[in-house]
């Protein structure tokens, strides 16, 4: 939801706007002021600014979200490796950078840098989510020229990150098989807004008797979410039959998203994450720096 196009006027509050003016007196003689602004108005404004910045450099920004330990950094490592292989074999180059959000430590950023990929670590202290301000600060440390994708690895948490627009274009949510197939039903706000759900650690499925991929997918459909669900394994195995299951499908999806994103940019539009999909905006209105 935003505050500029009227999309925050819903069936639930339409009567307020149609029946009353902006200012009125209360019975105590105080002034009542109608506002109808998103509670995260300032964050959303900054997020729009970030998105404009990404769009200017034609960089697709993806918000990676999941509970702690479901394999976000491992997915990024496997993604970098796969992109390197593609570059060597086909000369097809996709450049990425990573913004890492964690409560503490630089561990995750270091894992990405070890693969010669730029990574900015945001340590949030006790904050359970990234917000648009933190991402904005990190962007000042990144050279966006010649990049195709920025992955924003959010703080491991299936609740709070879902409420904050960072200025990204797509939400990708990871659900590892050890977490249980009912997670989408338990965390509907998060999974309703996913442009893609990755069932991670899928190589463990044969050892688990309580994770049914079709049930997980049904729970996502129950949230009226039509987005794809892929099984994936980023495992570094010597057994080539187990290795990197679903990575190719993931890379193909990324390439397709970049293509669609650039088509939108040519039309003067941007791409908004799933929950806001009904509200495509022209990205050309200016934001203050």
């Amino acid at each position: 939801m935003c505050d500029t196009c009227g999309c925050n006027v819903t069936e639930g509050n339409r009567n307020l706007i149609e029946t009353g003016g902006k200012h009125a007196k209360t019975s105590e003689g105080n002034e009542a002021v109608e506002v109808l602004q998103n509670l995260l108005h300032e964050n959303n404004h900054r997020a729009a600014h970030n998105r404009e910045h990404f769009d200017k450099h034609q960089v697709l920004a993806i918000n990676l979200m999941s509970s702690p330990g479901s394999g976000k950094t491992a997915l990024l490592e496997a993604t970098i490796d796969a992109l390197n292989t593609i570059r060597i074999n086909t000369n097809d180059k996709l450049s990425i950078a990573v913004i890492e959000g964690d409560l503490e430590t630089e561990n995750d950023a270091q894992r990405i840098r070890d693969r010669n990929t730029p990574a900015i670590q945001i340590t949030t202290g006790s904050a359970c989510h990234l917000d648009a301000y933190m991402v904005h600060d990190a962007l000042h440390e990144l050279d966006l020229d010649n990049l195709d994708i920025i992955f924003i690895e959010n703080v491991g948490n299936l609740v709070c990150p879902a409420s904050f627009d960072l200025g990204h274009h797509l939400n990708v949510t990871l659900l590892s098989v050890t977490e249980g197939d009912d997670k989408p039903a338990k965390y509907p706000v998060m999974f309703r807004g996913s442009n893609l759900t990755l069932i991670t650690k899928a190589d463990l499925l044969p050892f688990l008797d309580d994770f049914d991929v079709s049930k997980a997918e049904k729970n996502i459909r129950n949230l009226a979410n039509p987005a794809p669900v892929f099984q994936i394994s980023a495992r570094k195995s010597n057994d080539s039959s187990l290795e990197k299951q679903g990575i190719n499908e993931w890379i193909e999806w990324l390439k397709q998203q970049i293509k669609q994103y650039k088509t939108h940019l040519k039309l003067g539009e941007t791409v908004l994450p799933m929950i806001q999909k009904d509200h495509l905006h022209n990205s050309s209105h200016p934001h203050e720096h």
Binding site: M1, N8, T10, E11, G12, N13, L16, T26, E28, G29, N30, E31, A32, V33, E34, V35, L36, Q37, N38, L39, L40, H41, E42, N43, A127, C128, H129, D131, V159, C160, A162, S163, F164, P184, A185, K186, P188, V189, M190, R192, N219, R221, N222, L223, A224, P226, I275, D278
Partner: protein, 121 residues
């Protein structure tokens, strides 16, 4: 506990509105939230005294209205209310629905006591 961040954002917005309206204090803040916003009313109420301490809204009453989840079925056109984890059409059972209401997180209105009114008493 992102409700504290949200409360801090509310205080920032309310402070700005008070400044624009030349208000002395904020007496009431009306909030609307839908269950699919990811904001918990109870946590918001608990966080509010912490976020508002020392601000112009320090003694304001926070009124939170929870809006229902309403969906429109893209298959049969039916409109009905739905459960937070089951946004499926109660008439035909389809999951291809659109949300009409239920993800709001809005600062609806504020009530202010103004400076000039006090000086006129």
């Amino acid at each position: 506990m992102h409700e504290l961040s949200i409360c801090q954002s509310i205080i920032e917005q309310v402070t700005e509105i008070s400044r624009q309206n030349n208000a002395r204090i904020v007496t009431k803040i009306y909030i609307q939230i839908g269950p699919l916003s990811g904001v918990e009313a109870l946590l918001l109420e608990h966080a509010f005294p912490v976020a508002s301490a020392g601000s112009i809204a320090q003694n304001a009453i926070l009124e939170i209205q929870i809006l229902p989840i309403k969906i429109h079925c893209n298959i049969c056109g039916n409109e009905n209310t739905a459960d937070i984890s089951k946004l499926i059409c109660s008439a035909c059972g389809a999951w291809q629905t659109s949300l009409i209401s239920g993800d709001e997180m809005l600062l609806k209105s504020v009530e202010l006591e103004k400076f000039e009114e006090k000086s006129n008493v």
